[in-house]
């Protein structure tokens, strides 16, 4: 045992100390959780970045240089910091792209900020990612606030008229898993909902690992809630949808906030008949008005070719669009200095309806992409179909009766 330890140590030390990779090209870091519990969607997100890099390299690279992506595995916060340090000091990356998980992003971007290396967030949604006044951090993807915004607007514009009621007459109940994701989305739902004059009756938190949601269902049923907003992962989405069905609780609308509501296994587990008509807000998905999302078919084809399957979620597309916008702008710049990169990126101005995700790119306050937005979606016949806003919609919103 001890001997093997020593051998492994030596090997590890060799791997760390030796072989400073010789590169003539430009290196960027790809910092995602590639192992651990978040690995599935971390990997999915990274694929979007890889496809963008492949596409850029195929068309001649940036400023004539081929891009090399160096992966970093941000399995937990301490590791995210370690990997960010490794990418910056050992691999000499000019910028880091990442990172799917908000907490990893927050931890790693503090390191990048202190090292003066640009950090491009392509997928994490928490407010705190951009809320810290960092100079070198840019976020291209829509946020938790955008998600809540889409949900509230969808209620006002679509759900209430379809039910023949004034938005203020609907009783709204918010339930959310109590980690960072659920807390931040539901917080915005409450704030924006109140601002839009909605009647939010209750707001309930629960741990995502729960095996029983009957108390919550009962509570909502007793309050005669019309619209349920749930922000959840897979397990709790399934539990809630099943247990509401079994308890005979049938509100006018159930609206998810990404997470578990966007995955096919959830629909399969709940049953296509039960989930039919359930609404959702998330990154741009694949059943969408393709006029509004030019290039989405090319993306799907490239994905299919490289990975041999269809995308498992919209994360890859969102990361792809974000990475494309940043990399294309770098092509116009001269050199890979942190300040040069920032200057180039700050000048990006891509209008809506011209990217594969539909939304445009322009960085505003706190370096957040102010044109980013979430799409309103609905489960129709076992598929997640874009129904909101109208210019992106692939189908009409169906009433759930």
């Amino acid at each position: 045992m001890k001997l093997t330890n020593v051998l492994k140590m030596t090997a590890a030390a060799g791997a760390i100390l030796g072989a400073q990779a010789a590169y003539a090209d430009v290196t960027f870091g790809a910092l995602y959780p590639f192992s651990g519990q978040l690995a599935l969607l971390g990997e999915e997100s990274a694929r979007g970045l890889e496809l963008a890099v492949d596409e850029i390299n195929a068309s001649g690279g940036v400023q004539g240089e081929q891009i090399v992506l160096e992966r970093g595995d941000a399995v937990d916060n301490n590791q995210a910091i370690g990997e960010a340090r490794r990418l910056i000091s050992r691999e000499g990356v000019k910028a880091i792209f990442g990172s799917y998980s908000s907490s990893r992003s927050i931890a790693a971007s503090q390191v990048a900020e202190l090292s003066g290396i640009p950090y491009f967030e392509l997928g994490a949604v928490a407010d705190e990612v951009t809320g810290r006044g960092l100079q070198y951090l840019f976020r291209v993807n829509p946020t938790a606030e955008d998600m809540a915004d889409t949900i509230i607007n969808m209620i006002v514009d679509k759900v209430a008229p379809a039910a023949g009621k004034a938005p203020g007459d609907l009783k709204i109940g918010i339930i959310y898993e109590d980690s960072s994701y659920g807390t931040s989305v539901s917080g915005h739902e409450q704030r924006l909902g109140a601002a839009a004059g909605l009647n939010i009756v209750t707001s309930l938190a629960y741990p995502a690992s729960t095996v029983d949601m009957s108390s919550i269902v009962l509570d909502l049923k007793q309050r005669e809630i019309d619209v349920v907003l749930q922000t959840s992962y897979q397990n709790d989405s399934v539990l809630f949808l099943q247990q509401s069905h079994e308890a005979g609780f049938a509100p006018l609308a159930i609206i998810g906030g990404g997470g578990g509501y966007s995955t096919q296994p959830t629909a399969d587990a709940v049953g296509h008949d039960i989930i039919d008509g359930v609404l959702n807000a998330d990154f741009t998905q694949y059943v969408v008005n393709k006029e509004f999302t030019p290039g989405i078919d090319d993306f799907l084809a490239a994905y299919q070719e490289k990975y041999g399957t269809e995308p498992r979620s919209g994360h890859s597309l969102t990361n792809y669009v974000g990475a494309m916008a940043v990399l294309q702008s770098l092509n116009e710049a001269d050199g890979f200095d942190a300040d040069t990169i920032i200057e180039a990126v700050s000048a990006i101005d891509i209008p809506e309806g011209t990217t594969a995700a539909g939304y445009g790119v322009k960085f505003g306050e706190n370096n957040q992409n102010e044109r980013a937005r979430m799409m309103g979606l609905q489960w129709q016949d076992g598929k997640l179909v874009t129904v909101y806003p109208d210019d992106a919609a692939a189908a009409e919103l169906r009433s759930r009766n």
Partner: protein, 294 residues
């Protein structure tokens, strides 16, 4: 009032779930005296086995009992023989805990490796159909689970009280050294007890799988609750575990409804800590055997 009744019924049905997942642990924790952190992972394995049998072979999940229970029995015996027994003589008994923690980690990740992080859903075959009795609704599967949990508890009680093997197990539980002197093969009794405990979990898995989505991490939720139930009921007391499960089910359901679902764990673990401090032998346990004054 109807709502209160429904909350109570939900709590009792949840108690049925906790009872059936905890009875096996009473045997293992109460008799072999091993803190088996991999208990939840045994359940997870059973649930995946049920999932595979019912989706690949198209059988009713309850039919999987015939395969899953023996599978878990063997798994339990092997765990005792290969993992726990070598550590029984170790100076520090606490390291058994690390062994089972290691086993638990390995099994969770093995499931992640084989099945991925997505949930697996076992076909329900009508077990998710709700039955209405007056204002109360419950699921067929939940009622079956409650019934089987009750039958299992009574069956185990009789097994331990009335049969030769059962008496051997109780003798070993009370005084290992004396039992050995009386000619009981302690090592074998431990293996059988561990196997039985695991087999109970196998039975539970077949009943739980059609009602709840299966995922690699499902066991971690159950294992802590199971320990709470077992300690509450009193070590090695089968009937105590059943009552303990009902109490925890009710606390869970009532606190979830009246206090808030995010604080349920505080309520459940708070009760657990109170019991440990005020009445460490458990609500229904016999004499205290925790400390040993010469």
């Amino acid at each position: 009032m109807d709502v209160f009744l429904q909350v109570v019924v939900n709590g009792l049905l949840l108690g049925g779930l906790f009872a059936i997942t905890s009875v096996g642990l009473t045997l293992i924790f109460g008799i072999v005296k091993v803190v088996n952190f991999a208990h939840g992972e045994f359940l997870m394995i059973g649930m995946y086995a049920t999932f595979l049998i019912s989706t690949k072979l198209g059988l009713h999940p309850y039919a999987a009992v015939a395969a899953v229970v023996p599978l878990l029995f063997v798994l339990g015996m092997l765990t005792q023989k290969l993992l726990i027994e070598p550590l029984m003589s170790a100076r520090n008994h606490d390291i058994q805990i690390f062994a089972t923690v290691g086993l638990s980690t390995a099994l969770i990740n093995l499931a992640l490796l084989l099945f991925g992080a997505d949930i697996a859903t076992t076909p329900a075959y009508g077990l998710r159909t709700a039955i209405e009795i007056g204002p109360i609704r419950m699921l067929v599967g939940q009622i079956v689970m409650f019934g089987v949990a009750t039958a299992l508890v009574i069956g185990l009680h009789f097994f331990l009280q009335r049969t030769r093997s059962g008496r051997g197990i109780r003798a070993v539980a009370q005084n290992r050294a004396a039992a050995q002197l009386m000619g009981i093969n302690v090592s074998r009794v431990y293996m059988i007890t561990f196997g039985l405990g695991a087999a109970c979990v196998g039975l539970a898995a077949c009943l739980v799988a059609p009602l709840y989505p299966t995922s690699p991490g499902i066991g971690t939720y159950f294992v802590l609750t199971a320990f709470v139930v077992v300690v509450l009921g009193g070590l090695g007391s089968i009937g105590g575990a059943f009552l303990g499960a009902m109490i925890i089910g009710l606390i869970d359901s009532l606190s979830g409804f009246y206090i808030g679902s995010d604080m349920r764990e505080v309520a459940v673990f708070g009760v657990f800590l109170l019991i440990l401090i005020l009445r460490p032998q458990g609500l229904f346990g016999g004499r205290l055997k925790l400390s040993h004054v010469s």
